[in-house]
């Protein structure tokens, strides 16, 4: 199981029956593959659709039916399509129960940065700033480090996406919950020790020695 699958599987366990969920482009999209048995969730794509899965059957792609990453999707019975203002009314208005996003950095206070490395690469915020402002729960799904550098830092060096604290950080090493007291280690990945997590984290971690092992959902 690679890092991305660990992350996607663990995030999927945060899903609850009946939720409306927005998955960001890239890694978060994988979460859809691991929806736990017996629960039913609806996915929203911010380009204007609720109720889809991917990919569509080969040869059945429709040029007017894609997700927010531009990939072809299949609408499901009971799907609803709408324009961008309505889509963000859903997002900003708190109608999305959970948003899963990638991040470049998350800091000790729980703020994330994910849309610009000033002077280097600025893809833009897309829907991220609205999702972080409006979704009921915001989960960061990201690898613990990038090129050996911790992505969880004491203070952001990149511009924050929102002033809001995210609900949970899930990496291939740990589940970390931002709180008033700081970042709390909630779970460690199978076979990963607390010391290793602390060493790979650039911010102070409230790390109980007996942090339980991450469940990953069994198939």
């Amino acid at each position: 199981m690679d890092a991305k699958e660990i992350i996607a599987r663990r995030v999927a366990l945060e899903l609850r029956d009946g939720m409306l969920v927005n998955l960001g482009i890239g890694l978060p999209t994988l979460v859809a593959r691991f929806v736990p048995k017996g629960i039913s969730v609806a996915f929203q794509s911010e380009n204007g659709l609720i109720g889809f899965s991917a990919p569509p059957p080969e040869g059945m792609e429709n040029r007017d039916l894609t997700d927010a990453g531009g990939g072809f999707i299949e609408s499901l019975p009971g799907a609803a399509s709408f324009d961008s203002a309505t889509s963000f009314a859903l997002i900003r208005g708190g109608h999305v129960d959970m948003a899963v996003l990638g991040a470049l950095q998350v800091e000790a206070s729980g703020r994330l940065a994910n849309w610009t490395v000033p002077g280097k690469f600025t893809p833009g915020m897309g829907g991220a700033t609205d999702l972080v402002a409006g979704a009921k729960r915001v989960i960061v799904a990201m690898q613990h480090a990038a090129k050996g550098e911790p992505k969880i830092v004491e203070a952001l060096t990149l511009p924050p996406t929102s002033a809001r604290r995210v609900s949970l950080i899930v990496t291939e090493l740990a589940v970390i919950e931002p709180s008033d007291e700081g970042l709390v280690l909630r779970e460690r990945a199978p076979g990963v020790g607390v010391a290793q997590i602390v060493a790979c984290t650039g911010a102070r971690l409230i790390a109980p020695k007996d942090a339980p092992e991450m469940p990953l959902g069994c198939d």
């Binding site: 609806a42 019975p77 009971g78 799907a79 399509s81 709408f82 203002a85 009314a89 997002i91 208005g93």
Partner: protein, 218 residues
């Protein structure tokens, strides 16, 4: 995500006395008549009704007024209902009149996570009293605050098992806006059809917004 339908009576029991309740409809057209009947039957009291108007004494929201269910009204027009006028003048009902377009935008803002809207409507009139104004590129706008409610009672044309709604002609009016702006959204459709019968592009209110569907009378 499939929903199951409840009766109008069960829905009316959820709407507690003193609640703020958005009710769709325009002079009764597009109002949820069975829900209104059930509220009258259960003798609801002290409701704050938010809607375009109070229709006529025997029609739509007017029946809630007539039955003594209503303590407060926020609407754009009450001229078609002499009872509302009389109760307002006598102090038995508090009425806040709001320009119709402003009412629509305030409800939309409430559902869309916006703090409010900046509108030219009402600037320089008594509608502006007590409200902040902002100048943007040389023009003056009123800050009109978001509006939300405990409940939204909608009438729809079709609903599917997922709660997706369609409306018909001028019966849509405030219903699609209110679907976003209440903690509990109860929709009374003319018909319920299986998921997949309403094409995605025909859905006007995504089912995720609908808390309860009122099923056909049994």
């Amino acid at each position: 995500m499939r929903k199951s339908a409840i009766t109008a009576e069960a829905a009316a029991a959820l709407v507690f006395d003193g609640a703020s309740v958005m009710v769709g409809g325009f002079l009764g057209v597009g109002s949820p008549d069975r829900l209104i009947d059930a509220l009258v039957s259960r003798k609801a009291r002290g409701l704050t009704i938010i809607g375009n108007d109070t229709a006529y004494p025997t029609v739509g929201v007017g029946r809630l007024i007539e039955a003594g269910c209503v303590a407060r009204v926020r609407a754009s027009h009450i001229g078609t209902n002499p009872t509302t006028q009389r109760l307002m003048n006598g102090g038995a009902i508090e009425v806040e009149l709001i320009p119709q377009g402003t009412l629509a935008e305030r409800i939309r803002a409430g559902g869309a996570g916006l703090g409010g809207v900046l509108t030219p409507t009402g600037v320089g009139t008594i509608v502006a009293q007590g409200k902040q104004t902002v100048e943007i590129d040389g023009a003056i706008y009123l800050i009109e605050k978001r509006l939300r409610a405990d409940f939204a009672l909608l009438r729809a044309h079709e609903a599917d098992y997922c709660g997706n709604l369609t409306y018909r002609l001028t019966a849509a009016n405030f219903n699609p806006l209110m679907a976003f702006a209440a903690d509990c959204v109860i929709a009374e459709p003319d018909e319920i059809v299986p998921s997949g019968v309403i094409p995605p592009d025909s859905v006007r209110t995504p089912g995720v917004l609908v808390t309860h569907l009122v099923g056909r009378a049994r």
